[in-house]
Protein backbone atom coordinates (compact mmCIF):
# COMPACT_ATOMS: atom_id res chain seq x y z
CA UNK A 1 0.00 0.00 0.00
CA UNK A 2 2.75 2.37 1.00
CA UNK A 3 4.69 1.54 -2.14
CA UNK A 4 1.71 2.15 -4.35
CA UNK A 5 1.09 5.47 -2.70
CA UNK A 6 4.67 6.51 -3.26
CA UNK A 7 4.55 5.53 -6.93
CA UNK A 8 1.24 7.28 -7.49
CA UNK A 9 2.36 10.39 -5.67
CA UNK A 10 5.65 10.55 -7.58
CA UNK A 11 4.00 10.08 -10.92
CA UNK A 12 1.31 12.67 -10.25
CA UNK A 13 3.91 15.19 -9.22
CA UNK A 14 5.89 14.46 -12.33
CA UNK A 15 2.94 14.56 -14.73
CA UNK A 16 1.57 17.62 -12.94
CA UNK A 17 4.82 19.42 -13.41
CA UNK A 18 5.07 18.36 -17.04
CA UNK A 19 1.46 19.39 -17.67
CA UNK A 20 2.03 22.79 -16.14
CA UNK A 21 5.13 23.22 -18.18
CA UNK A 22 3.30 22.34 -21.41
CA UNK A 23 0.40 24.66 -20.64
CA UNK A 24 2.72 27.49 -19.79
CA UNK A 25 4.68 27.02 -22.99
CA UNK A 26 1.57 27.08 -25.15
CA UNK A 27 -0.34 29.91 -23.53
CA UNK A 28 2.04 32.30 -21.93
CA UNK A 29 4.28 34.83 -23.63
CA UNK A 30 7.93 33.75 -23.73
CA UNK A 31 9.25 36.02 -21.08
CA UNK A 32 12.49 35.16 -19.29
CA UNK A 33 10.84 35.30 -15.88
CA UNK A 34 8.14 32.88 -16.89
CA UNK A 35 10.64 30.39 -18.32
CA UNK A 36 12.88 30.65 -15.27
CA UNK A 37 9.92 30.01 -12.97
CA UNK A 38 8.91 26.94 -14.97
CA UNK A 39 12.47 25.62 -14.95
CA UNK A 40 12.67 26.09 -11.22
CA UNK A 41 9.43 24.20 -10.72
CA UNK A 42 10.58 21.43 -13.02
CA UNK A 43 13.88 21.11 -11.16
CA UNK A 44 12.05 20.96 -7.85
CA UNK A 45 9.74 18.27 -9.19
CA UNK A 46 12.64 16.25 -10.56
CA UNK A 47 14.45 16.41 -7.20
CA UNK A 48 11.32 15.27 -5.43
CA UNK A 49 10.92 12.39 -7.87
CA UNK A 50 14.55 11.41 -7.34
CA UNK A 51 14.10 11.39 -3.57
CA UNK A 52 10.91 9.39 -3.80
CA UNK A 53 12.58 6.98 -6.21
CA UNK A 54 15.41 6.36 -3.74
CA UNK A 55 12.92 5.94 -0.94
CA UNK A 56 11.02 3.44 -3.08
CA UNK A 57 14.25 1.53 -3.77
CA UNK A 58 14.95 1.24 -0.06
CA UNK A 59 11.40 0.21 0.75
CA UNK A 60 11.57 -2.51 -1.88
CA UNK A 61 14.87 -3.73 -0.45
CA UNK A 62 13.29 -3.90 3.01
CA UNK A 63 10.14 -5.65 1.87
CA UNK A 64 11.92 -8.24 -0.26
CA UNK A 65 13.08 -11.52 1.36
CA UNK A 66 16.83 -11.57 2.22
CA UNK A 67 17.90 -13.84 -0.62
CA UNK A 68 15.98 -11.75 -3.12
CA UNK A 69 17.59 -8.63 -1.70
CA UNK A 70 21.03 -10.05 -2.24
CA UNK A 71 20.36 -11.22 -5.75
CA UNK A 72 18.05 -8.57 -7.24
CA UNK A 73 20.01 -6.51 -9.75
CA UNK A 74 19.02 -3.05 -10.97
CA UNK A 75 17.49 -2.92 -14.45
CA UNK A 76 20.46 -2.67 -16.80
CA UNK A 77 21.02 0.33 -19.03
CA UNK A 78 22.34 -0.53 -22.50
CA UNK A 79 25.69 1.19 -21.98
CA UNK A 80 26.25 -0.65 -18.72
CA UNK A 81 25.62 -4.18 -19.91
CA UNK A 82 29.17 -5.38 -19.27
CA UNK A 83 29.37 -3.86 -15.82
CA UNK A 84 25.94 -5.14 -14.93
CA UNK A 85 26.78 -8.66 -16.04
CA UNK A 86 29.95 -8.62 -13.98
CA UNK A 87 28.09 -7.27 -10.97
CA UNK A 88 25.40 -9.91 -11.39
CA UNK A 89 28.05 -12.64 -11.21
CA UNK A 90 29.50 -11.10 -8.09
CA UNK A 91 26.03 -10.73 -6.59
CA UNK A 92 25.50 -14.46 -7.00
CA UNK A 93 28.66 -15.09 -5.00
CA UNK A 94 27.62 -12.58 -2.37
CA UNK A 95 24.36 -14.48 -2.09
CA UNK A 96 26.33 -17.66 -1.45
CA UNK A 97 28.44 -15.81 1.05
CA UNK A 98 25.33 -14.74 2.92
CA UNK A 99 24.11 -18.31 2.97
CA UNK A 100 27.47 -19.54 4.16
CA UNK A 101 27.22 -16.98 6.92
CA UNK A 102 30.94 -16.49 6.69
CA UNK A 103 30.75 -12.76 7.13
CA UNK A 104 27.46 -12.28 8.83
CA UNK A 105 28.21 -12.72 12.47
CA UNK A 106 25.98 -10.54 14.51
CA UNK A 107 27.15 -8.15 17.15
CA UNK A 108 25.36 -9.99 19.91
CA UNK A 109 26.08 -13.35 21.49
CA UNK A 110 29.25 -15.43 21.33
CA UNK A 111 30.64 -15.81 17.82
CA UNK A 112 31.43 -19.47 17.18
CA UNK A 113 33.31 -20.52 14.08
CA UNK A 114 34.80 -23.81 13.06
CA UNK A 115 36.07 -26.36 10.62
CA UNK A 116 35.37 -30.02 10.10
CA UNK A 117 36.60 -32.65 7.71
CA UNK A 118 36.06 -36.30 6.90
CA UNK A 119 37.66 -38.44 4.25
CA UNK A 120 38.85 -41.70 2.84
CA UNK A 121 42.04 -43.08 1.39
CA UNK A 122 44.19 -46.02 0.46
CA UNK A 123 46.25 -44.89 3.46
CA UNK A 124 45.60 -42.47 6.27
CA UNK A 125 46.38 -38.81 5.63
CA UNK A 126 48.50 -38.75 8.79
CA UNK A 127 49.01 -42.40 9.70
CA UNK A 128 49.96 -44.46 6.61
CA UNK A 129 49.22 -47.74 8.42
CA UNK A 130 45.48 -47.11 8.24
CA UNK A 131 43.17 -47.03 5.24
CA UNK A 132 39.46 -46.73 4.44
CA UNK A 133 37.12 -44.06 5.71
CA UNK A 134 38.14 -41.74 8.51
CA UNK A 135 36.97 -38.83 10.59
CA UNK A 136 39.43 -35.96 10.36
CA UNK A 137 38.67 -33.33 12.97
CA UNK A 138 35.98 -31.05 14.32
CA UNK A 139 37.47 -27.74 15.29
CA UNK A 140 35.62 -24.94 17.07
CA UNK A 141 37.08 -21.52 17.68
CA UNK A 142 35.42 -18.84 19.73
CA UNK A 143 36.10 -15.14 19.44
CA UNK A 144 34.01 -13.40 22.10
CA UNK A 145 33.54 -9.63 21.87
CA UNK A 146 34.99 -8.25 25.08
CA UNK A 147 35.16 -4.53 24.47
CA UNK A 148 37.32 -2.27 22.39
CA UNK A 149 40.78 -3.55 23.26
CA UNK A 150 40.38 -6.87 25.02
CA UNK A 151 40.57 -9.85 22.70
CA UNK A 152 40.15 -13.57 23.27
CA UNK A 153 40.47 -16.64 21.10
CA UNK A 154 39.76 -20.21 22.18
CA UNK A 155 40.05 -23.19 19.90
CA UNK A 156 38.85 -26.63 20.83
CA UNK A 157 39.62 -29.54 18.56
CA UNK A 158 38.09 -33.01 18.51
CA UNK A 159 39.89 -35.64 16.51
CA UNK A 160 40.32 -39.38 16.38
CA UNK A 161 43.68 -40.84 17.33
CA UNK A 162 45.41 -43.87 15.77
CA UNK A 163 43.47 -46.20 18.07
CA UNK A 164 40.14 -44.77 17.02
CA UNK A 165 39.68 -43.02 20.35
CA UNK A 166 38.29 -39.51 20.54
CA UNK A 167 40.98 -37.02 21.50
CA UNK A 168 40.26 -33.49 22.64
CA UNK A 169 42.81 -30.70 22.49
CA UNK A 170 42.57 -27.15 23.69
CA UNK A 171 44.47 -25.99 20.63
CA UNK A 172 44.50 -22.35 21.59
CA UNK A 173 43.58 -20.46 24.72
CA UNK A 174 44.80 -16.92 24.36
CA UNK A 175 43.62 -13.65 25.83
CA UNK A 176 45.02 -10.45 24.44
CA UNK A 177 45.09 -6.70 24.65
CA UNK A 178 45.18 -4.53 21.55
CA UNK A 179 47.71 -1.85 22.33
CA UNK A 180 47.29 -0.04 19.03
CA UNK A 181 46.35 -0.68 15.41
CA UNK A 182 49.79 -2.20 14.95
CA UNK A 183 50.32 -4.17 18.14
CA UNK A 184 48.39 -6.83 20.06
CA UNK A 185 49.82 -8.66 23.05
CA UNK A 186 48.55 -12.19 23.71
CA UNK A 187 49.03 -14.44 26.70
CA UNK A 188 48.24 -18.14 26.72
CA UNK A 189 48.57 -20.99 24.25
CA UNK A 190 48.90 -19.91 20.61
CA UNK A 191 50.06 -21.16 17.24
CA UNK A 192 53.83 -20.71 17.13
CA UNK A 193 54.44 -17.98 14.56
CA UNK A 194 57.17 -19.52 12.44
CA UNK A 195 56.95 -19.42 8.66
CA UNK A 196 53.52 -18.93 7.10
CA UNK A 197 51.60 -22.20 7.03
CA UNK A 198 51.41 -22.86 10.76
CA UNK A 199 49.50 -19.72 11.67
CA UNK A 200 47.61 -19.28 8.39
CA UNK A 201 45.91 -22.68 8.14
CA UNK A 202 46.55 -24.93 11.10
CA UNK A 203 43.35 -26.99 11.66
CA UNK A 204 41.47 -25.06 8.99
CA UNK A 205 41.41 -27.74 6.32
CA UNK A 206 38.67 -25.94 4.41
CA UNK A 207 40.80 -22.82 3.93
CA UNK A 208 43.86 -24.83 3.01
CA UNK A 209 44.04 -25.72 -0.66
CA UNK A 210 45.94 -28.97 -0.16
CA UNK A 211 44.43 -31.97 1.54
CA UNK A 212 47.07 -32.30 4.27
CA UNK A 213 49.81 -30.32 5.90
CA UNK A 214 53.41 -30.91 4.95
CA UNK A 215 54.44 -33.85 7.11
CA UNK A 216 57.25 -32.10 8.96
CA UNK A 217 54.83 -29.23 9.78
CA UNK A 218 52.21 -31.55 11.26
CA UNK A 219 50.92 -30.98 14.78
CA UNK A 220 53.11 -32.28 17.59
CA UNK A 221 50.91 -35.31 18.21
CA UNK A 222 50.57 -36.06 14.49
CA UNK A 223 54.19 -36.35 13.47
CA UNK A 224 55.41 -32.75 13.45
CA UNK A 225 59.02 -32.08 14.30
CA UNK A 226 58.53 -28.42 15.17
CA UNK A 227 56.53 -26.91 18.05
CA UNK A 228 53.18 -26.06 16.42
CA UNK A 229 51.98 -24.52 19.70
CA UNK A 230 53.66 -22.42 22.34
CA UNK A 231 52.42 -21.45 25.78
CA UNK A 232 53.64 -17.97 26.60
CA UNK A 233 53.54 -14.35 25.56
CA UNK A 234 53.11 -13.21 21.94
CA UNK A 235 53.34 -9.71 20.52
CA UNK A 236 52.03 -9.40 16.96
CA UNK A 237 51.02 -6.68 14.55
CA UNK A 238 51.50 -4.95 11.25
CA UNK A 239 52.46 -1.51 10.01
CA UNK A 240 51.68 -0.05 6.63
CA UNK A 241 54.66 1.29 4.75
CA UNK A 242 54.13 2.79 1.34
CA UNK A 243 52.03 0.43 -0.72
CA UNK A 244 52.89 -2.61 1.40
CA UNK A 245 52.74 -3.73 4.99
CA UNK A 246 55.30 -5.05 7.45
CA UNK A 247 54.13 -7.80 9.74
CA UNK A 248 55.94 -8.90 12.85
CA UNK A 249 55.71 -11.43 15.67
CA UNK A 250 57.83 -11.78 18.79
CA UNK A 251 57.21 -14.46 21.39
CA UNK A 252 58.56 -16.16 24.47
CA UNK A 253 57.14 -19.35 25.95
CA UNK A 254 57.79 -22.58 27.75
CA UNK A 255 60.47 -24.74 26.16
CA UNK A 256 59.13 -28.01 24.71
CA UNK A 257 60.04 -31.42 26.03
CA UNK A 258 60.14 -34.63 24.01
CA UNK A 259 58.00 -37.22 25.78
CA UNK A 260 57.17 -40.63 24.33
CA UNK A 261 58.67 -39.50 21.05
CA UNK A 262 56.44 -36.43 20.77
CA UNK A 263 57.00 -32.73 21.45
CA UNK A 264 55.08 -31.56 24.50
CA UNK A 265 54.47 -27.78 24.75
CA UNK A 266 54.20 -28.08 28.55
CA UNK A 267 51.14 -25.95 28.91
CA UNK A 268 50.86 -26.57 32.64
CA UNK A 269 54.21 -24.90 33.26
CA UNK A 270 57.88 -25.73 33.70
CA UNK A 271 59.91 -27.45 36.36
CA UNK A 272 63.01 -25.56 35.29
CA UNK A 273 63.57 -22.20 33.65
CA UNK A 274 63.95 -23.03 29.96
CA UNK A 275 62.18 -21.01 27.35
CA UNK A 276 61.56 -20.79 23.65
CA UNK A 277 62.17 -17.34 22.18
CA UNK A 278 61.51 -16.33 18.60
CA UNK A 279 60.08 -13.97 16.05
CA UNK A 280 58.84 -13.53 12.53
CA UNK A 281 59.27 -10.55 10.21
CA UNK A 282 57.33 -10.39 6.95
CA UNK A 283 56.56 -7.97 4.16
CA UNK A 284 53.24 -8.00 2.35
CA UNK A 285 53.69 -6.23 -0.96
CA UNK A 286 51.14 -3.96 -2.60
CA UNK A 287 50.62 -2.52 -6.05
CA UNK A 288 51.42 -4.82 -8.95
CA UNK A 289 52.91 -7.34 -6.49
CA UNK A 290 49.71 -7.45 -4.43
CA UNK A 291 49.40 -10.93 -2.90
CA UNK A 292 53.13 -11.48 -2.44
CA UNK A 293 54.46 -11.99 1.06
CA UNK A 294 58.05 -12.75 1.98
CA UNK A 295 59.47 -13.25 5.43
CA UNK A 296 61.99 -14.66 7.86
CA UNK A 297 61.43 -16.41 11.16
CA UNK A 298 63.64 -17.66 13.94
CA UNK A 299 63.27 -19.43 17.23
CA UNK A 300 65.61 -20.93 19.74
CA UNK A 301 64.86 -23.32 22.56
CA UNK A 302 66.46 -25.79 24.91
CA UNK A 303 64.67 -29.09 24.46
CA UNK A 304 65.10 -32.12 26.69
CA UNK A 305 63.76 -35.63 26.36
CA UNK A 306 62.71 -38.53 28.59
CA UNK A 307 65.45 -41.02 27.64
CA UNK A 308 67.19 -43.01 30.40
CA UNK A 309 70.16 -40.73 29.91
CA UNK A 310 68.24 -37.53 29.08
CA UNK A 311 69.52 -35.38 26.24
CA UNK A 312 69.38 -31.63 26.07
CA UNK A 313 69.60 -29.87 22.77
CA UNK A 314 69.84 -26.19 21.94
CA UNK A 315 67.54 -25.88 18.91
CA UNK A 316 68.15 -22.95 16.57
CA UNK A 317 65.62 -22.79 13.76
CA UNK A 318 65.90 -20.33 10.86
CA UNK A 319 62.93 -20.01 8.54
CA UNK A 320 62.43 -18.41 5.15
CA UNK A 321 59.10 -18.20 3.38
CA UNK A 322 57.41 -16.64 0.37
CA UNK A 323 53.77 -16.80 -0.62
CA UNK A 324 51.89 -15.48 -3.63
CA UNK A 325 48.18 -15.53 -2.91
CA UNK A 326 45.91 -13.84 -5.44
CA UNK A 327 42.45 -14.48 -6.88
CA UNK A 328 44.11 -17.05 -9.18
CA UNK A 329 47.39 -18.22 -7.65
CA UNK A 330 48.23 -19.72 -4.31
CA UNK A 331 51.92 -20.47 -4.29
CA UNK A 332 53.72 -21.29 -1.07
CA UNK A 333 57.38 -21.83 -0.30
CA UNK A 334 58.87 -22.51 3.12
CA UNK A 335 62.34 -23.55 4.08
CA UNK A 336 63.76 -24.23 7.53
CA UNK A 337 67.32 -24.76 8.64
CA UNK A 338 68.15 -26.32 12.01
CA UNK A 339 71.51 -25.53 13.60
CA UNK A 340 71.29 -27.57 16.79
CA UNK A 341 73.85 -27.96 19.57
CA UNK A 342 74.15 -31.00 21.79
CA UNK A 343 74.23 -29.62 25.36
CA UNK A 344 74.32 -32.92 27.24
CA UNK A 345 76.74 -35.01 25.16
CA UNK A 346 79.74 -34.48 23.01
CA UNK A 347 78.24 -34.86 19.54
CA UNK A 348 78.58 -31.14 18.86
CA UNK A 349 76.56 -29.25 16.27
CA UNK A 350 74.10 -30.72 13.77
CA UNK A 351 72.61 -29.18 10.67
CA UNK A 352 69.31 -30.29 9.18
CA UNK A 353 66.90 -28.88 6.61
CA UNK A 354 63.25 -29.16 5.75
CA UNK A 355 61.03 -27.37 3.31
CA UNK A 356 58.22 -27.52 0.80
CA UNK A 357 56.96 -25.76 -2.31
CA UNK A 358 53.32 -25.77 -3.37
CA UNK A 359 51.79 -24.34 -6.53
CA UNK A 360 48.05 -23.99 -7.00
CA UNK A 361 45.96 -22.25 -9.64
CA UNK A 362 42.30 -21.39 -9.09
CA UNK A 363 40.03 -22.13 -12.06
CA UNK A 364 36.68 -20.91 -10.79
CA UNK A 365 35.59 -23.82 -8.58
CA UNK A 366 38.49 -26.16 -9.41
CA UNK A 367 41.95 -25.65 -7.97
CA UNK A 368 44.59 -28.08 -9.16
CA UNK A 369 47.75 -28.09 -7.08
CA UNK A 370 51.07 -29.80 -6.70
CA UNK A 371 53.46 -29.97 -3.78
CA UNK A 372 56.94 -31.22 -3.13
CA UNK A 373 58.28 -31.51 0.40
CA UNK A 374 61.52 -32.77 1.80
CA UNK A 375 63.11 -33.17 5.23
CA UNK A 376 66.79 -34.06 5.63
CA UNK A 377 67.21 -34.56 9.34
CA UNK A 378 70.50 -35.63 10.88
CA UNK A 379 69.90 -38.78 12.88
CA UNK A 380 72.88 -38.22 15.18
CA UNK A 381 71.05 -35.13 16.44
CA UNK A 382 69.30 -36.17 19.67
CA UNK A 383 66.47 -33.74 18.93
CA UNK A 384 65.40 -35.72 15.85
CA UNK A 385 66.56 -39.14 17.05
CA UNK A 386 64.23 -38.89 20.07
CA UNK A 387 61.18 -38.03 17.98
CA UNK A 388 59.03 -40.82 16.52
CA UNK A 389 58.64 -38.83 13.30
CA UNK A 390 62.18 -37.49 13.21
CA UNK A 391 63.20 -39.42 10.09
CA UNK A 392 64.10 -37.94 6.72
CA UNK A 393 61.76 -38.26 3.76
CA UNK A 394 60.53 -36.63 0.61
CA UNK A 395 57.03 -36.57 -0.81
CA UNK A 396 55.55 -35.39 -4.06
CA UNK A 397 51.83 -34.91 -4.49
CA UNK A 398 49.30 -33.70 -7.02
CA UNK A 399 45.71 -32.93 -6.20
CA UNK A 400 42.63 -31.01 -7.04
CA UNK A 401 40.23 -29.09 -4.88
CA UNK A 402 36.64 -28.51 -5.90
CA UNK A 403 34.67 -25.80 -4.09
CA UNK A 404 31.04 -26.82 -3.83
CA UNK A 405 30.40 -23.37 -2.43
CA UNK A 406 32.24 -20.87 -0.27
CA UNK A 407 31.91 -23.04 2.81
CA UNK A 408 32.64 -26.55 1.59
CA UNK A 409 35.24 -28.22 -0.56
CA UNK A 410 36.06 -31.67 -1.90
CA UNK A 411 39.71 -32.58 -2.34
CA UNK A 412 41.45 -35.43 -4.06
CA UNK A 413 45.19 -36.03 -3.70
CA UNK A 414 47.67 -38.57 -4.98
CA UNK A 415 51.00 -38.73 -3.21
CA UNK A 416 54.22 -40.67 -3.22
CA UNK A 417 56.39 -40.74 -0.11
CA UNK A 418 59.93 -42.02 0.23
CA UNK A 419 61.49 -42.40 3.67
CA UNK A 420 65.20 -41.99 3.23
CA UNK A 421 66.94 -43.03 6.44
CA UNK A 422 65.14 -44.91 9.23
CA UNK A 423 62.65 -47.15 7.47
CA UNK A 424 63.68 -46.65 3.83
CA UNK A 425 60.11 -47.32 2.77
CA UNK A 426 58.37 -46.02 -0.31
CA UNK A 427 54.62 -45.85 -0.72
CA UNK A 428 51.93 -44.12 -2.68
CA UNK A 429 48.51 -43.07 -1.53
CA UNK A 430 45.23 -41.72 -2.87
CA UNK A 431 43.18 -39.60 -0.51
CA UNK A 432 39.81 -37.89 -0.56
CA UNK A 433 38.59 -35.23 1.85
CA UNK A 434 35.35 -33.35 2.37
CA UNK A 435 36.01 -30.18 4.37
CA UNK A 436 33.68 -27.46 5.59
CA UNK A 437 33.81 -24.26 7.56
CA UNK A 438 31.05 -22.61 9.50
Amino acid sequence: MKRSAVILCSALLFTGAMGSADAATAAAPKTDDRVAELERRLDASNKLIEQLSERLHDLEARLAPPSATAKAPEPPAPAQDETTARLAAIEREVGEMAVAGAASSGSSGLPVHGFADVGAGTRGAIDPDHKGFAVGSLDFYLTPELGERTRALFELNFEVDENGELATDLERAQIGYQISNGATLWLGRFHTPYGYYNTAFHHGQQISTALRRPSFLQFEDAGGIMPAHTVGLWLTGAHRLGGGRWTYDAFVGNAQQIEDGTLNPRQSGLTESEFTVGGNLGYLAGGFLDGLKVGLSYYTSTVGDDALMPNRTRVNNYGLYATFDTDRWENLLEFYHFDNDDLSGTSGSHNSNAGFVQIAYRLERFTPYTRYERAMLEQTDAYFAAQTSGGSYYRSAVGVRFDLNLASALKLEFGRTVETDRAREEFGDALMQYAIRF
Partner: protein
Protein backbone atom coordinates in the same frame (compact mmCIF):
# COMPACT_ATOMS: atom_id res chain seq x y z
CA UNK B 1 -19.74 -5.35 -9.58
CA UNK B 2 -18.96 -4.43 -13.18
CA UNK B 3 -18.18 -0.87 -12.12
CA UNK B 4 -15.93 -2.14 -9.33
CA UNK B 5 -14.00 -4.44 -11.70
CA UNK B 6 -13.60 -1.69 -14.26
CA UNK B 7 -12.44 0.68 -11.60
CA UNK B 8 -9.82 -1.81 -10.35
CA UNK B 9 -8.57 -2.45 -13.90
CA UNK B 10 -8.33 1.25 -14.59
CA UNK B 11 -6.54 1.89 -11.33
CA UNK B 12 -4.05 -0.90 -11.95
CA UNK B 13 -3.48 0.31 -15.49
CA UNK B 14 -2.93 3.85 -14.33
CA UNK B 15 -0.49 2.67 -11.66
CA UNK B 16 1.44 0.58 -14.15
CA UNK B 17 1.64 3.42 -16.66
CA UNK B 18 2.68 5.92 -14.06
CA UNK B 19 5.25 3.55 -12.54
CA UNK B 20 6.71 2.92 -16.00
CA UNK B 21 6.86 6.66 -16.62
CA UNK B 22 8.56 7.18 -13.27
CA UNK B 23 11.17 4.49 -13.90
CA UNK B 24 11.81 5.73 -17.44
CA UNK B 25 12.25 9.29 -16.23
CA UNK B 26 14.59 8.41 -13.39
CA UNK B 27 16.79 6.32 -15.69
CA UNK B 28 16.81 8.86 -18.49
CA UNK B 29 18.76 11.58 -16.72
CA UNK B 30 20.92 9.68 -14.16
CA UNK B 31 22.81 6.39 -13.99
CA UNK B 32 21.20 3.62 -11.92
CA UNK B 33 21.55 4.29 -8.23
CA UNK B 34 23.43 1.02 -7.71
CA UNK B 35 26.32 2.28 -9.83
CA UNK B 36 27.08 5.21 -7.55
CA UNK B 37 28.93 4.11 -4.44
CA UNK B 38 29.39 6.20 -1.32
CA UNK B 39 31.72 4.99 1.40
CA UNK B 40 30.52 6.69 4.54
CA UNK B 41 31.51 6.95 8.18
CA UNK B 42 30.05 8.43 11.29
CA UNK B 43 31.23 12.07 11.68
CA UNK B 44 33.32 10.92 14.67
CA UNK B 45 35.60 8.94 12.33
CA UNK B 46 38.59 10.53 10.65
CA UNK B 47 39.95 8.17 8.02
CA UNK B 48 41.18 8.70 4.50
CA UNK B 49 40.39 6.91 1.27
CA UNK B 50 43.75 5.11 1.58
CA UNK B 51 42.71 3.66 4.94
CA UNK B 52 39.53 2.02 3.66
CA UNK B 53 41.10 -1.30 2.69
CA UNK B 54 42.60 -1.71 6.15
CA UNK B 55 39.36 -0.65 7.85
CA UNK B 56 37.19 -3.15 5.97
CA UNK B 57 39.69 -6.01 6.19
CA UNK B 58 40.10 -5.71 9.95
CA UNK B 59 43.67 -4.42 9.85
CA UNK B 60 42.76 -1.09 11.36
CA UNK B 61 40.63 -1.08 14.51
CA UNK B 62 41.05 2.51 15.67
CA UNK B 63 41.01 5.98 14.15
CA UNK B 64 42.67 8.10 16.80
CA UNK B 65 40.87 7.15 19.99
CA UNK B 66 37.70 6.11 18.19
CA UNK B 67 37.08 2.37 17.97
CA UNK B 68 35.97 1.59 14.42
CA UNK B 69 32.81 -0.39 13.75
CA UNK B 70 32.72 -1.16 10.03
CA UNK B 71 29.69 -3.04 8.69
CA UNK B 72 28.95 -4.61 5.33
CA UNK B 73 25.85 -3.65 3.34
CA UNK B 74 24.50 -6.59 1.38
CA UNK B 75 22.66 -4.30 -1.05
CA UNK B 76 25.90 -2.60 -2.15
CA UNK B 77 28.54 -5.24 -1.41
CA UNK B 78 29.22 -6.36 -5.01
CA UNK B 79 29.97 -2.80 -6.11
CA UNK B 80 32.10 -2.14 -3.02
CA UNK B 81 34.16 -5.29 -3.42
CA UNK B 82 34.82 -4.59 -7.06
CA UNK B 83 35.62 -0.90 -6.82
CA UNK B 84 37.22 -0.42 -3.42
CA UNK B 85 38.71 -3.70 -2.22
CA UNK B 86 39.18 -5.08 -5.75
CA UNK B 87 38.44 -8.59 -4.53
CA UNK B 88 36.06 -11.32 -5.52
CA UNK B 89 33.43 -12.22 -2.91
CA UNK B 90 35.10 -15.61 -2.49
CA UNK B 91 38.46 -14.00 -1.80
CA UNK B 92 36.87 -11.51 0.58
CA UNK B 93 35.11 -14.25 2.51
CA UNK B 94 38.23 -16.41 2.75
CA UNK B 95 40.38 -13.43 3.73
CA UNK B 96 38.05 -12.72 6.63
CA UNK B 97 37.95 -16.37 7.69
CA UNK B 98 41.76 -16.48 7.76
CA UNK B 99 41.90 -13.16 9.60
CA UNK B 100 39.38 -14.31 12.16
CA UNK B 101 41.07 -17.68 12.62
CA UNK B 102 44.54 -16.21 13.03
CA UNK B 103 43.87 -12.98 14.91
CA UNK B 104 40.56 -13.55 16.67
CA UNK B 105 38.84 -10.63 14.91
CA UNK B 106 35.22 -11.22 13.96
CA UNK B 107 33.94 -10.76 10.39
CA UNK B 108 31.88 -7.64 9.84
CA UNK B 109 28.16 -7.64 10.67
CA UNK B 110 25.98 -7.29 7.57
CA UNK B 111 23.19 -4.77 7.08
CA UNK B 112 20.43 -5.56 4.63
CA UNK B 113 19.68 -2.29 2.85
CA UNK B 114 20.98 1.17 2.13
CA UNK B 115 18.48 2.82 4.44
CA UNK B 116 19.37 0.53 7.34
CA UNK B 117 23.08 1.09 6.72
CA UNK B 118 22.79 4.88 6.60
CA UNK B 119 20.77 4.91 9.78
CA UNK B 120 23.36 2.72 11.54
CA UNK B 121 26.33 4.82 10.40
CA UNK B 122 24.54 8.04 11.35
CA UNK B 123 23.77 6.74 14.83
CA UNK B 124 26.82 4.64 15.81
CA UNK B 125 30.07 6.34 16.86
CA UNK B 126 32.93 4.74 14.91
CA UNK B 127 30.68 3.20 12.26
CA UNK B 128 31.70 2.98 8.61
CA UNK B 129 29.99 1.35 5.64
CA UNK B 130 28.98 1.95 2.03
CA UNK B 131 25.74 2.62 0.19
CA UNK B 132 24.46 3.08 -3.35
CA UNK B 133 21.96 5.82 -2.55
CA UNK B 134 22.66 9.41 -1.60
CA UNK B 135 23.49 9.20 2.12
CA UNK B 136 22.18 12.65 3.04
CA UNK B 137 23.20 14.61 6.11
CA UNK B 138 24.64 13.21 9.31
CA UNK B 139 27.42 11.08 7.85
CA UNK B 140 30.89 11.75 6.49
CA UNK B 141 31.45 10.71 2.88
CA UNK B 142 34.96 9.24 2.55
CA UNK B 143 34.67 8.14 -1.06
CA UNK B 144 32.20 8.87 -3.84
CA UNK B 145 32.78 6.44 -6.67
CA UNK B 146 30.97 6.42 -9.99
CA UNK B 147 31.20 3.91 -12.79
Amino acid sequence: MRFASRSIVLRLGARAALAALLVATSHADAPPASLVLYVICNPSVEVSEEDLRDVFLGERQFAGDVHLTPVDNRAAQPVFLERVLKMTPAKYSTTWTKKSFRDGVNPLPVKGSNAETIEFVRREVGACSYVTTTPGAGVRVILNSTG
